[in-house]
């Protein structure tokens, strides 16, 4: 169980670095990149929960989260490009 706590601590420190980049990013693109990476790190977090609790539905959460994060990042990229979402 100590192992899970240590890994969760490392991932939490990574998340705080990303939050700094989201807060202080000079441009909007920096913030979009950090949001994308935050979604991917969250998938790792949820998998760690699956390891710790030995429950199956956490993995379903991970799959759903990666899908939603992907769609959101594509929408952000399209918005940055200056187009509307249906173009």
């Amino acid at each position: 169980m100590t192992f899970v706590y240590v890994i969760a601590g490392i991932l939490a420190v990574s998340c705080f670095m990303l939050l700094y980049r989201i807060g202080h990013g000079p441009t909007t693109s920096d913030r979009a990149v950090a949001m994308d990476i935050l979604g991917t790190i969250m998938v790792g977090f949820v998998c760690l929960s699956a390891v710790a609790r030995k429950q199956e539905f956490y993995i379903n959460l991970a799959i759903a989260w990666s899908l939603v994060s992907f769609i959101g990042t594509l929408a952000l990229a399209k918005h940055l490009e200056g187009k509307r979402l249906d173009e």
């Binding site: 998340c15 990303l18 693109s29 950090a34 790792g44 998998c47 030995k54 991970a62 799959i63 940055l80």
Partner: protein, 120 residues
């Protein structure tokens, strides 16, 4: 501890290290594109390692199968999202770092701007 638990712990540790250094790169590198490169490669690799470690060390085959499906999904989607973000930020007008050497997208970006100007 059985051997698969030890292998899983090693994989998850390596994955967490990749995640950490990817985020460190996102914090320290100078412009959007190098940040995107460091963060996307490292974090994709790290999260896939964590997923494979979960697949190795778990007892249930269903968790293992879903973890591998999720890893394949991340391997497909994360480079796509990074490419879209880089393209979007270039067309948005974010400049490269002063000491950048090559810009392979420059001519294509001008063509894209020209074409979108014609449509209007």
């Amino acid at each position: 501890m059985s051997s698969n638990v030890i292998i899983g712990h090693i994989l998850i540790s390596v994955g967490a290290a990749f995640d950490f250094f990817g985020c460190l790169g996102l914090l320290r590198l100078p412009d959007v594109y190098s940040r995107l490169q460091a963060a996307t490669k490292c974090v994709t690799m790290g999260t896939m390692m964590i997923l494979f470690g979960t697949a190795v060390m778990t007892a249930s085959p269903w968790i293992a199968m879903k973890a591998i499906i999720c890893a394949i999904f991340i391997a497909m989607t994360s480079p796509t999202a990074a490419d879209a973000l880089a393209r979007g930020s270039y067309l948005n007008g974010v400049r490269l770092w002063d000491k950048s050497v090559v810009n392979a997208f420059k001519e294509r970006a001008e063509e894209i701007k020209y074409e979108s100007g014609e449509e209007k």
